[in-house]
């Protein structure tokens, strides 16, 4: 089995998001899934915080709050959600279902 053939499928990186969200929740984040999704989108682009904030037209301070888990999924900037939905490695619907 070659790792790179399938390992970056939506299911796999979504699992990784779930793991990171659990860790952030353990650290006290109020909205870990929104934070994780944003971190995943940015990380998979290999983007630093400031240029990413500019690309999604969000104030860097607001991005920092999102990534700290202080902003709910419903309040995520649309540009971040759109980028997440366009990334085939992420299953946004599955992550959203965790919100309950």
């Amino acid at each position: 089995m070659s790792f790179d053939l399938e390992a970056r499928s939506s299911r796999d990186l979504t699992r990784m998001c779930e793991q990171l969200a659990e860790r952030l929740a353990g650290d006290g984040a109020s909205h870990p899934m929104a934070a994780t999704l944003t971190l995943a989108v940015r990380g998979l682009q290999g983007a630093a915080a400031e240029p990413f904030a500019a690309s999604v037209r969000v104030d860097p301070e607001q991005l920092a709050r999102i990534e700290r888990g202080e902003v709910s999924f419903d309040q995520l900037p649309e540009a971040i959600l759109i980028q997440a939905l366009r990334d085939p490695r992420l299953d946004v619907d599955r992550l959203r279902r965790h919100i309950g």
Partner: protein, 216 residues
């Protein structure tokens, strides 16, 4: 990785995306050394283990030196321990705090039994293994009656390194214990012969003959 070291969690995704193959190769090597070819064929397990390894790197990223080894090599001990724990390998009884309490484990370390030394040995606690595995208990018992405290540790660490797939266990143990690799090989060879003799002539230690290390 530098970004990760600064506490940016997004980098764990970058790490897996860019270096997942290298991390997977390391995990595969470890699983192969355990004889767990069943897991090598289990794609979900493999992916989960790569993620586990990535999070181990994330947790330690702050002390990674960009001028040194790649992060998955640098964090190799921690990754091996986490993988062993996740798959339920017998060498997975990890309890650093207990090892810290047992400072006698490294009585002859070059720098003494400080936290850094012990962190390198977080992979297992032989006493806990012995509680669960009669073969390990028998081995430790035989070593305790035939070897000095130092030599017991040398042999124990040598076998652990071998179990983890270390291609040069004598060099690793030598560096950890302040000995030369030749010293380590001599100690291991001498004790192996003694234990083989015990297994052959003492009914209490007959079970040692089934040990792969002694049978080899």
């Amino acid at each position: 990785m530098v970004v990760m070291a600064e506490g940016d969690h997004s980098a764990v995704f970058t790490l897996v995306d860019e270096f997942g193959d290298q991390i997977a190769a390391m995990v595969r090597s470890q699983l192969a050394s355990y004889g767990r070819r069943d897991l090598l064929r289990d794609r979900d397990e493999m992916v989960g283990l790569v993620h586990t390894a990535a999070f181990e790197i994330l947790d330690r990223a702050g002390s990674w030196d960009p001028a040194g080894a790649p992060p998955w090599v640098w964090a190799g001990h921690a990754i091996r321990a986490a993988v062993a724990q996740q798959i339920g390998h017998p060498l997975a009884d990890i309890d650093v705090d207990r090892l810290v309490e047992r400072q006698a484990l490294m009585p002859f370390s070059r720098s003494g039994p400080d936290r850094a030394d012990l962190d390198d040995h977080r992979d297992l606690d032989l006493d806990r293994l012995a509680e669960r595995h009669p073969q390990v208990r028998l081995l430790l018992d035989a070593l305790s009656v035939t070897a000095s405290e130092r030599d017991q540790v040398v042999v124990g660490q040598f076998l652990i390194q071998k179990a983890f797939g270390d291609p040069s266990p004598s060099h690793t143990v030598a560096a950890e214990c302040g000995l030369s690799p030749a010293n380590v090989r001599q100690i291991v060879s001498r004790l192996r012969r003694k234990l083989q003799a015990m297994a052959a002539h003492d009914a209490r230690y007959r079970g040692l003959g089934r040990s792969g290390w002694l049978a080899a």
